[in-house]
Homo-oligomer: 139 residues x 3
């Protein structure tokens, strides 16, 4: 069984945002799969997807703080500066975190751990809506 | 063909641990797949999975040293500190390395390079056993 | 439908290289898949694959500069030094970026965003040709 859908995520502020419920609610087809995989892919190079802690909002704030430190703006070695100081760091952060996640599907649901959630990681200051492609397969 | 199994990994010390053989030995179903994919997913946000060098134990020690430098404990900007100094760095390291790996299956085996091994990356000081979900598909 | 192929990539200089067209041109079987996934896996631990900006070559140069800063050579805590100063950083960079990418397939093509491209990330100074395993599945 195969199912694929492009979903437009709402524009969000720069930072890390929990989107598990938003994505799962748009995938009623999950219920038809007893065992399989969900591949969630973001079609952009300055935003990314990851999985992390789903409970305390300060975790997401600390992600933003740490990534800003680990991948700073205005590094003296950046040559690609014409699109603003947040652009090149955004590409680097997105590659480090990754453009997709794959989640097991079990009994019609994402089979995540109790504390796991799907994050949209928005690395630009003024981003528009983002497109993701979700591919579900299983039986 | 679909196969899915939850495997409980033994508790290990903080650090990077080679688990290729441990995982493969619990998957006799691999032999039934001539061409496919194995998706290995960890259901936690302070441990992760990656693939790296499988021979020299100092490589795994250098991973621990470098990740402790790149994602330090007690950074002044951390707000999520109530679960101990190793907790927030653990979430960051896990997101950087990733919660899953996907390995091609060829002729009933993981199709890894000669020097590749699967690592369990344990980022907490006092961790319990960790659950992974392995999903195999192919024909 | 399943298809799997090992492809030998040409040896490249240390740095980040756009290989979308090179890979796609070796996969005529993509056209047979209307909806599916392409898993691209590199069988090495000192080179990696990622997806990022496909237009401005200075982006790829900034990736090299930033990764050299974030994962330096000759860090005092490295123990695995016998294979040269570029070896241990190569393993770390490869784990951070990842050994595989998974791309949705839609209507016989990689379903990438307008600005997305597949990068071969070569982390060694004197690398030979690299093997990737491409697994296509879908219907």
């Amino acid at each position: 069984m195969w199912f694929q859908k492009e979903i437009r995520l709402p524009a969000v502020q720069r930072g890390f945002h929990l989107i598990t419920d938003l994505v799962e609610s748009q995938l009623p087809e999950l219920e038809e799969i007893s065992m399989g995989m969900a591949h969630i892919f973001i079609k952009h190079t300055s935003a990314s997807l990851t999985i992390s802690e789903n409970a305390d909002p300060t975790v997401r704030q600390d992600f933003e703080s740490h990534f800003n430190k680990m991948v700073p703006e205005n590094a003296p070695y950046y040559q690609h500066t014409s699109e603003g100081p947040d652009d090149m760091p955004a590409h680097l952060k997105a590659a480090i975190l990754g453009s997709s996640v794959t989640i097991p599907i079990t009994n019609g649901r994402f089979n995540l751990g109790t504390w796991q959630g799907l994050y949209l990681c928005e690395h630009r200051n003024h981003a528009s809506k983002r497109w993701i492609v979700v591919t579900l397969t299983g039986n």
